[in-house]
Symmetry: C2
């Protein structure tokens, strides 16, 4: 009988003693591949062991397993900020996929600060993660190169950098879509709120937008900003000060766009009528805003799941190609004066 039915959780040994076999046999039966199992014990022994395992409510001790196998099945995820719904959604995708692969994940905020990125990464490493997902890659800087040089398996998500494997949205194309839309509406005097200068998302979206306009022979002023409402607000104020005033503003992120709407209103102008505003990511809020926001939809959840899967293949020793998802323009009242 099990020595300790109540006190401590069942171990391989408890089962082994109950079933009258060796712990190695139990281990092979409970965890081996089907063929291993067959080789490890007879039909009846296998059944008996399995029965005892459920009866004793056996759960393998992950620490023991990790210690022995030198694999933690743990993935660290770094994001600028979890309270940014975009990153939270991407993380949900990562976590979903990880669960399906039997991996555990944990997130940490880096606040887009290089020092924190380093510190958090070291922390993750000291927790012996098998790999990392960076949602906060900076396109400048050498941090990721150093990590790669140390042979740490990782992938990027949302932002890309260097030629490290990444899963992103085709941000350049997304910016182009907005430009196309604006041009169709006849906007010739426009501005773009470009986000942080180190994030490929903002940079690409801006570039796609600007390039498209340039093809139409129009130069577009861009101003960088934080990715939040306050950042967007301030940036929009700047743009609105220009003369002649822009009739449309593209913010590379929904929150910045909301801030821009606020700035337009504060300037005594009617958002959507006097100044069209478009955002990016098609956050759940965009559709429900008092003035519904035109935005570019990016598959955030899916990007997260694909990133995790890419990481799995990296862990498998492969060197997978980066992936880029197609964005989709969702037109709403904030760019439709007539509506």
């Amino acid at each position: 009988m099990a020595r300790q039915d109540r006190k401590r959780p069942a171990t391989l040994r408890t089962i082994a003693e109950s079933a009258g076999v060796d712990v190695s046999t139990v281990s092979r039966v409970l965890n081996g591949a089907p063929e291993d199992v067959a080789r490890a014990a007879s039909r009846e022994t296998v059944d008996a062991i399995r029965e005892w395992a459920v009866r004793l409510d056996y759960r393998p001790n992950p620490h023991a397993k990790s210690l022995r196998t030198a694999r933690s099945n743990l993935i660290g995820v770094l994001v600028p900020r979890l309270s940014d719904v975009v990153l939270a959604t991407i993380y949900e995708g990562v976590e979903d996929a990880a669960a399906r692969h039997g991996l555990a994940t944990f997130v940490m905020n880096s606040y887009d600060r290089p020092a924190e990125q380093r510190a958090r990464t070291e922390l993750a490493l000291s927790r012996r993660v098998d790999g990392l997902v960076f949602g906060d890659a900076h396109s400048d800087g050498t941090f990721l190169d150093e990590i790669a040089a140390r042979r740490v398996p990782f992938v990027l998500v949302s932002r890309h950098a260097g030629d490290h494997p990444s899963v992103t949205c085709d941000d350049y194309r997304g910016g182009g879509l907005v430009a196309e839309h604006f041009l169709q509406l006849g906007h010739e005097r426009v501005g773009v709120i470009a986000g942080e200068p180190f994030a490929s998302t903002g940079l690409d979206r801006m570039a796609g937008f600007v390039d498209h306009y340039r093809e139409a022979g129009i130069d577009v002023p861009a101003v960088h900003s934080a990715f939040d409402t306050t950042g967007g607000h301030k940036a929009a104020e700047n743009l609105l000060r220009q003369r002649p005033r822009p009739t449309a503003i593209f913010a590379v992120n929904d929150f910045a766009a909301i801030g821009a709407l606020g700035a337009v209103r504060d300037a005594g102008l009617r958002p959507g009528e006097d100044v069209a505003v478009a955002g990016f990511n098609d956050t759940p809020l965009a559709a429900e805003l008092p003035l519904p926001l035109t935005s570019v939809r990016s598959p955030m959840h899916e990007m997260g799941t694909r990133a995790l899967e890419l990481l799995v293949s990296v862990l498998g020793g492969q060197k997978p190609a980066s992936e880029r998802f197609d964005p989709e323009l969702v037109v709403r009242a904030s760019t439709l004066p007539g509506a």
Copy 2:
């Protein structure tokens, strides 16, 4: 010399061999309390060991440590949805505090579904967490009682249930604040969007509001809804169908409030002028909305950190008292027709 300078990470043994002492000595020096250290080795040995530790870039193997000590220093956190900025912010607080206490955390979504709550909790337990933080407590149901009966250390955050230790906002008072505000503005015909019927947050906020109005001799219709924009939108449509029509709506959550703003607009009414709308949580967006939203501020981040600290004291064998934070009304244009 270390047998393997490059290949594998340094262990106590590597250091022991380098310094010419036993691993037990190294262990005591590196991890013991100051007095232990003094008893374990001479001044010079201690220095030598410490020196080797940094030189070899030693990081304790958490799996070995957890296996031996039967303590994982891991905390599981359950939330309805991480892409809800309220919960994400609370989690950030939890994570911050955990880091300060040398604990690691990981989050999981339960989507407020009992089956997921159970499954995720079991998962956390099988990962051998030291304790849990539930951000998704249901006030009905017996799940938490069962967990408590199993002696699993946990605390609740954001919502309370039964008399399990919890860290919440004084939601009842928060609801009262809004009622007070509405009454001062002269609203006699009002409605409340109450959120999910199993969440103490919504229930308390509604109760505080309704009770306050009842004291003024006015009955308030309440309608439950999901905590998101769509839920708020639908609920507001219902309320707006009533005759006479309410002149003010209290949504127990900012997202529901935003949905309500949308519904008001869709009904051909002017939000803030024809129908005042107030929310709850004072999400960063509230202030930046085209029509800034009156909301009740709750200290989300702080609630998270306090919850973790409460859990720490539970882990220390104590039975701490629940904590309730004071909310604060932030009045903005959505309830100020003249503004």
